[in-house]
């Protein structure tokens, strides 16, 4: 009874942490980008200000919009909160962990994506459906790559539960795993593609012909838009925490190790800051590629992930 209460508390704390910190993470990345480009930047709290502003406004709907259009933001938000809840970030004692392993996690992301595409096509504007088509083009290529990325740590640990993976990888003796390095590079490429970051999509653009993510949410306003933006922030942060859990899990406390919690939180903050700064650097030095180069980029990610798995099978490392 006591242990289940403890894991409930730990679950609640971790989920709330990710959900509340997610906009801050986006703010940190854009702040770093601003610094690298010699601009002063909008400040770390800008995403929160945007969310407050949007929640305050009235939500306008197209006349012919159906229930899908109305419900999609809530479904997306729910999916992202669920995804955020199954990734251990501070401690591996999570109540929701049996709800979804890494493979089901890919499915949760896919569910959210399907509804965002359906909602974009629902209003019947040309931009919406072309955004949905592009989103699906990118997704159909990044999803297999993401699955392949997961297979490498999964084969090392022989389990698909994130809790077990983190527990095993974080508390083994140090060993060089070239296969994990391959998978990590592929994961970064998938992360950039899935979160509409720069080589694939430019989150700051308002030029209709190049945008993917912006075209999907063009018809939304008010609280719906706020929920979608928030869900995307959570998705981005969850991807970062998945990366931490798979490729640099050192410092995440084991179940029941309460005295390790402050250190685990500190380590998490340092890792997230480093990831944000690294992504900002990558986005500053690279340019957005043409949409038809995206299959090549994601094909490369798939290839790297597959290579990681193959080297693991051959070398055992």
């Amino acid at each position: 009874m006591l242990t289940s209460f403890a894991s409930f508390l730990s679950q609640l704390a971790q989920t709330l942490l990710v959900v509340l910190v997610a906009p801050l993470m986006l703010g940190w990345v854009s702040q770093c980008r601003a610094w690298l480009q010699n601009r002063s930047g909008p400040g770390l709290l800008q995403p929160y200000r945007v969310l407050f502003k949007l929640f305050d406004k009235d939500a306008l709907m197209a006349h012919n919009a159906s229930a899908i259009f109305r419900g999609a933001p809530y479904i997306q938000f729910g999916c992202m909160v669920l995804a955020a809840s199954v990734v251990p970030i501070i401690e591996t004692n999570l109540l929701f962990a049996p709800a979804a392993d890494v493979i089901a996690l890919v499915g949760v992301f896919a569910l959210a994506r399907v509804f965002s595409a359906l909602a974009a096509m629902d209003a019947g504007t040309s931009f919406g459906s072309f955004g949905a088509r592009r989103e699906m083009l990118v997704a159909s290529l990044s999803e297999p790559a993401l699955l392949m990325v997961f297979f490498t740590p999964l084969l090392i640990v022989q389990s698909s539960s994130l809790n077990v993976i983190v527990d095993t990888l974080a508390h083994r003796e140090f060993a060089l795993y070239p296969s994990l390095a391959f998978a990590a590079v592929a994961f970064i490429m998938v992360l950039l593609a899935e979160n509409a970051r720069i080589p694939i999509d430019n989150p700051a653009t308002h030029l209709e012909l190049t945008m993917i993510h912006e075209a999907l949410i063009l018809e939304y306003s008010g609280r719906h838009l706020a929920l979608i933006e928030w869900a995307n922030a959570i998705k981005f942060t969850t991807y970062c925490t998945i990366g931490i859990a798979l490729f640099m899990p050192w410092g995440i406390a084991q179940a029941g190790a309460w005295q390790m919690l402050p250190a685990a939180v500190a380590v998490l903050i340092v890792k997230l800051c480093a990831i944000g700064a690294g992504l900002a650097l990558m986005e500053t030095v690279s340019a957005k590629m043409r949409i038809f180069r995206a299959p090549e980029f994601l094909g490369m990610a798939y290839m790297l992930a597959a290579l990681g798995m193959l080297t693991l099978l051959l070398l055992g490392a």
Binding site: P178, F182, M303, T311, L313, L314, L315
Partner: protein, 218 residues
């Protein structure tokens, strides 16, 4: 620890082989070739240090001298002289080439598995990667139609063979190794002259012009 380092070097070899397969620009291709030589040399040094085979140090030294410094310099000089620093086109598109490459890697790994189980060397696991590097370089030669990338593919294939020798038997006898290095050096010099002749005759380094040689005109 040495086994892990050797595995790391092997993975880097494989990664560079794939990068060469996907690279469109000739200049970057030459840089990648130099990097592959460097990884090869480091691998030789690690194996030499672990097994105490002194002549492997020597072969690492020659590898650095020839494949990291001399050949890339010659190639850079050639492409500057030929004025071909622009994009290389590939015959089939890059994702397809990549998939073909992955199939080749699976094939090579399967091929090497029984051999590695028989071998007792520390480097036995990397034999599959060595064969894969040879096959990938071969694939690169097949998919490119310009002359210079084909020659780089040929050199990369030699790198793979060298790596295979190191991983299967701790390297070839010194005489053989030196002979091969000399062959490669001379081969590059001859091919360098050949490039100019090809361009003189066909006004291009595209090798598809050479397929129409027989009975032209009549």
């Amino acid at each position: 620890m040495s086994a892990q380092l050797i595995n790391l070097m092997a993975s880097l070899m494989l990664l560079i082989a794939f990068a060469m397969l996907a690279q469109r620009r000739i200049r970057s291709l030459i840089y990648l070739f130099a990097w592959q030589g460097a990884v090869l040399a480091v691998n030789s040094v690690i194996v030499a240090w672990y097994t105490g085979h002194g002549e492997l140090y020597l072969s690492a030294f020659f590898t650095v001298l020839l494949k990291v410094i001399a050949l890339p310099l010659v190639l850079h000089y050639l492409i500057r002289k030929l004025d071909i620093q622009w994009d290389v086109e590939t015959l089939i598109n890059i994702p397809t080439t990549m998939l073909a490459g992955i199939v080749l890697v699976v094939f090579a790994f399967n091929l090497a598995l029984p051999i590695s189980q028989l071998a007792g060397t520390i480097t036995r696991g990397t034999l599959g990667i060595a064969i894969a590097v040879v096959l990938l370089a071969f694939l690169m030669m097949i998919t490119r139609r310009k002359a210079v990338p084909q020659v780089i593919g040929f050199l990369a294939m030699e790198n793979g063979l060298f790596f295979a020798a190191t991983s299967a038997t701790y390297g070839m006898p010194m005489v053989v190794e030196l002979g091969i290095l000399l062959d490669v050096m001379v081969g590059i010099l001859i091919l360098g002259i050949f490039f100019f002749q090809v361009r003189e005759a066909f006004d291009s380094l595209d090798l598809k012009h050479m397929e129409k040689l027989k009975e032209s005109g009549e």
